[in-house]
């Protein structure tokens, strides 16, 4: 699938074929997409633990549901528990020097081993590594982790899978996954084949570009070009907006199939 169409097709899927497992190679592709994501100081803040739902004891499965995530967690055959690893700053000095060695950080931009050893590490990164509990450090780590999660989600869509991020109860799942204490729980990425159509009722309503993006300064909208918008429609990045005319009927059918309230 072309990249723009992958972006256009992604939805939060909330009905999965609970009986159909996901091929392990597709999960590997998702994880690889996450591993290759952009990350500050080449630190892999995102850590994740893949769990097959059927390997989670029933009691634990019930305990990790939040009021709104219960059904999603039950339907998705694969759960990827994601965390921000606050220890990822450690080792950043060596990683940065490696980026210098491989030609990613160059003299053209002022980078050298000496700069990393004598300025970047002691003045910036070491304090961050030592003050990992500061809100700004956690926000930076969570931001990078989010970028990686997003790449995994798009890779899943490209593989014909459905994905949805949900909240989870950390203590409950930790009996199974045994995540280190300094990992901050983010989301569980639920993965499976959609039981609803891939359109899932249409592209979700979003505010117009001009409302959320600015040019030059806050308050001056970034004006979209209708010609470019048409190009994105042709590339299936911008698709029919929800609700598609048959969505209510689809939800009724899904409710009946899974024995859910209407």
């Amino acid at each position: 699938m072309e990249f723009k169409e992958v972006v256009g097709r992604r939805r939060s899927i909330r009905y999965f074929q609970s009986w159909r497992n996901v091929e392990r190679e597709k999960i590997q592709i998702m994880l690889e997409a996450a591993r290759l994501a952009s990350c500050a100081v080449n630190a892999t803040f995102l850590k994740a633990i893949v769990v097959s739902r059927d390997n989670i004891p029933r009691e634990t499965l019930d305990a990790l549901k939040t009021p709104v995530s219960g059904l999603n967690i039950e339907l998705a055959p694969v759960h990827i528990y994601t965390y921000a690893d606050m220890g990822a700053y450690k080792g950043a000095q060596a990683r940065l020097k490696k980026l210098v060695d491989v030609g990613a950080l160059n003299v053209t931009h002022g980078w050298s081993h000496k700069f990393v050893d004598e300025f970047v590490w002691p003045n910036i990164l070491k304090p961050l590594a030592e003050g990992a509990n500061q809100p700004s450090v956690a926000a930076a780590a969570a931001s990078d982790a989010g970028i990686a999660i997003c790449q995994a989600m798009l890779a899943a869509v490209d593989e014909g899978l459905g994905v949805c991020l949900s909240a989870f109860q950390r203590e409950a799942i930790n009996k199974v996954v045994k995540a280190p204490k300094d990992w901050i729980p983010l989301w569980v990425l639920l993965v499976g084949y959609p039981a609803e159509s891939w359109e899932a009722g249409g592209q979700r309503p979003r505010p117009p570009l001009e409302e959320i993006f600015f040019e030059g300064e806050f308050g001056k909208p970034f004006k979209s070009d209708p010609k470019v918008t048409e190009q994105m429609k042709a590339a299936k990045m911008i698709q029919a907006q929800a609700p598609l005319p048959w969505r209510k009927e689809e939800i009724k059918a899904l409710a009946r199939m899974f024995g859910l309230p209407e």
Partner: protein, 118 residues
């Protein structure tokens, strides 16, 4: 103990339910009379009228925003599960007993999930 002293359709919570069924779910509530019958049976079991059932899931304090009561909601979910298990129904009919009441509460703003009942 409250008594049901008017047609169920005249309770505000039932009007809200019917409106939600029509507008959000695309279901015409009058096409299936068993909905109201099940609600009536549930009301009798709890000895509450429909509005009181919704109120039992809420926490109202003067001067504060109304919240969903964690205890009230949990207790109601258990009562619905018991109601579903009773009545001798099996399979889809059994799920329908519980889901009808869940639907009534969901459309009245009380988040409940039934779990898969295939």
């Amino acid at each position: 103990m409250a008594s049901i002293n008017k047609p169920l359709e005249e309770y505000d919570s039932v009007k809200t339910w019917y409106r939600g069924l029509r507008e959000q779910s695309g279901v015409e509530p009058n096409e299936d009379e068993s909905r109201l019958e099940l609600l009536r049976e549930f009301c009798a079991t709890l000895e509450l009228d429909p509005d009181e059932i919704v109120a039992a899931c809420l926490l109202r304090k003067e001067g504060k925003a109304t919240k969903i009561s964690i205890k009230g909601r949990r207790s109601m979910a258990e009562r619905i599960a018991d109601f579903q298990a009773g009545g001798g129904a099996e399979g889809r009919e059994r799920a329908k007993r519980g889901n009808t009441i869940r639907s009534f509460l969901i459309h009245n703003g009380i988040l409940l999930q039934s779990g898969v009942q295939i």
